[in-house]
């Protein structure tokens, strides 16, 4: 088969070992004679799969016992609705930090369910920075404070967890979960669509502190009600069983690699190589983000001349470097380098970038 390096922002590259195991087990999981796709979600086989997935995720992230782990559907965007529906009821107010495209989406949806205040925004400088924490204006009666630790499109990433007192912190970790250690106890709720660092699309994981449950607004759709889902161990209805299975394999792969601390070191090394290629290109490539908040996961960059974009993408594809086109709102290129992107892929990209710049300067 063809070897390619796939820099898609999501759905994104998965570990080859996980895909090989999935392929091997596809028609007959552990001698059951059944594909995971064919198993009753209430049978002993799938029960084992989902329980192991949860245990491995708890292990990887050191999730405290008073947090529930929910396996849901509908992507992070569905959580843009579910979060205010479940959490805003306590005070009717919630604060949001606006660091780019995905923050804005979360804010727009939340406004439909209560009094939303933007505590800080990077929009004045086209989301190329993260406003200093000292300037955040968080209302003391906000039911929660929402932020986006990594902006997949803009390429802005928080390098530490903001300190906001007692207000429950809610984080959309879709594009950097499991890429570095985080102290889960600092959060009220963490959520992440699976299709970047967890597994296939169609699965979204919510990690929520138990005491925040039980305040859902009256019209909350049943399957968006975290309390009901938690009371049923994510089996209020049929979960996305195959996606849970693949996610579970990825959790085991991560553990075998040394967990998120080991993964962080690799991710730092991978990102450093690409930023060095950009910064060392004498202006041929440019990343507009403040150095202190550059993303390790999604690296947008523009070429000094937009007229070269088409040639860059075509030649990259000829070198089997795929899905490098930047989001239309930013332009240029974007290299998404999640956990499953091997160092070889980064090296191949850097080598190509240098070669391309040399030929087109």
């Amino acid at each position: 088969m063809t070897t390619v390096y796939n820099f898609s922002a999501g759905p994104a590259v998965l570990p080859k070992d996980v895909l090989l195991q999935t392929q091997q087990e596809l028609l007959d999981w552990h001698g059951s004679g059944m594909s995971v796709m064919e198993m009753s979600h209430r049978g002993p086989e799938f029960t084992q799969i989902i329980q192991e997935a949860e245990a491995d995720l708890r292990d990887l992230m050191a999730i405290p016992a008073h947090y529930k782990v929910l396996f849901l559907q509908g992507g992070a965007t569905t959580q843009f609705s579910a979060i205010p529906l479940n959490l805003i009821g306590r005070t009717g107010k919630a604060d949001y930090v606006n660091t780019g495209h995905w923050s804005k989406g979360a804010i727009a949806e939340a406004r439909r369910y209560g009094d939303i205040h933007v505590a800080a925004s990077g929009e004045d400088r086209q989301f190329t920075y993260i406003p200093d924490l000292t300037r955040w204006q968080v209302r003391p009666d906000a039911a929660y404070l929402h932020y986006t630790p990594n902006e997949t499109i803009g390429g802005v990433e928080f390098q530490s967890v903001p300190t906001v007192g007692d207000i429950p912190l809610v984080a959309d970790m879709s594009s950097n979960i499991l890429s570095r250690p985080v102290d889960v106890s600092r959060f009220g709720l963490i959520y992440a669509g699976a299709q970047k660092n967890i597994g296939p699309s169609g699965l979204v994981i919510v990690i929520v502190r138990e005491d925040l449950l039980g305040h859902a607004l009256p019209l909350t759709p049943k399957l968006m009600n975290y309390q009901l889902v938690a009371d049923n161990d994510s089996m209020l209805n049929t979960p996305a069983t195959f996606a849970v299975y693949v996610a579970g394999l990825i959790f085991k792969w991560l553990k075998a690699k040394g967990g998120v601390a080991a993964m962080e070191q690799i991710n730092i090394a991978k990102a450093d190589k690409i930023y060095a290629a950009i910064d060392g290109s004498q202006g041929f490539y440019r990343n507009p983000i403040d150095i202190a908040c550059r993303s390790r996961m999604n690296i947008p960059f523009v070429l000094h001349d937009d007229a070269l974009n088409a040639a860059f993408l075509k030649e990259a594809a000829d070198h089997r470097l795929l899905q490098l086109k930047g989001h239309k709102s930013v332009g240029g290129m974007r290299a998404s380098i999640y956990n499953a992107m091997p160092m070889d892929g980064v090296d191949a990209l850097v080598s190509f970038m240098q070669d391309f710049a040399g030929r087109h300067t």
Copy 2:
């Protein structure tokens, strides 16, 4: 590998040919070098996959052009909320027919969003029959009439589409879609969780007449708003890409088998064999449903002595006949025989049932 026959009610058996193709393409779809799980949902590869899936489904069901086909997440149970949220706004009222477990679930959730009236119910006889259409009390100002063409747990199936005048008919076809021809133009909306006759869990399909869109209640979560999803060709956010791909393969498999008309003949023959084994068992096995509305997809049956249940299930498993245990609300056994259950599996079950009865009479 082990050959088994899997009678799970869902997630359920998938066609072996489809699983083999999925396995073969798992790491490299059509020479792309990528698994379908790794592809951007906005790239040319997945765009082709989802467009072909929709075209093939439209072809199989002869879906008229003024109906939208939506690929959603969250299972049919999420649609229990989404349907009133989207459709009840026109008059604030909706009518439901109660034929069992899944009808009841849909009714309970709908009551949270408007004035719900039960137009007919089979509860007086433990849902063993379908109330005669002449006795249905449908309100003329109902925004829609909801019914469940096949009750997966009870094993009751409508053999024709009820005539209800101009009121849009909404049908939960989760467990019998694509098992027989239906005239889509008779419906306002059809929905179906994938994990029975369509593909893996995590995908739900909605087929909706365009003129019913645009009346969503103000608090409808963005991703539950059919109009917004339709306007974005099911790409309002990342769809369950792998599930859509497998569903697409199943649609092609169905077309190769001669489509739903051919499938109906096979389904009739399969169901007839099992009902004949039950009815011919001199009371050893019993199915309580009125003959006129017995399901072709889900056949619940009890043994004359519940004390034999454990032995039946154990011996069945020894014969590689799996997941035959009935739902706890009904007891006994249930054989779910969707499109992908081969005739060989039905023959093996019938043979085992006869043998078991012979040895335990």
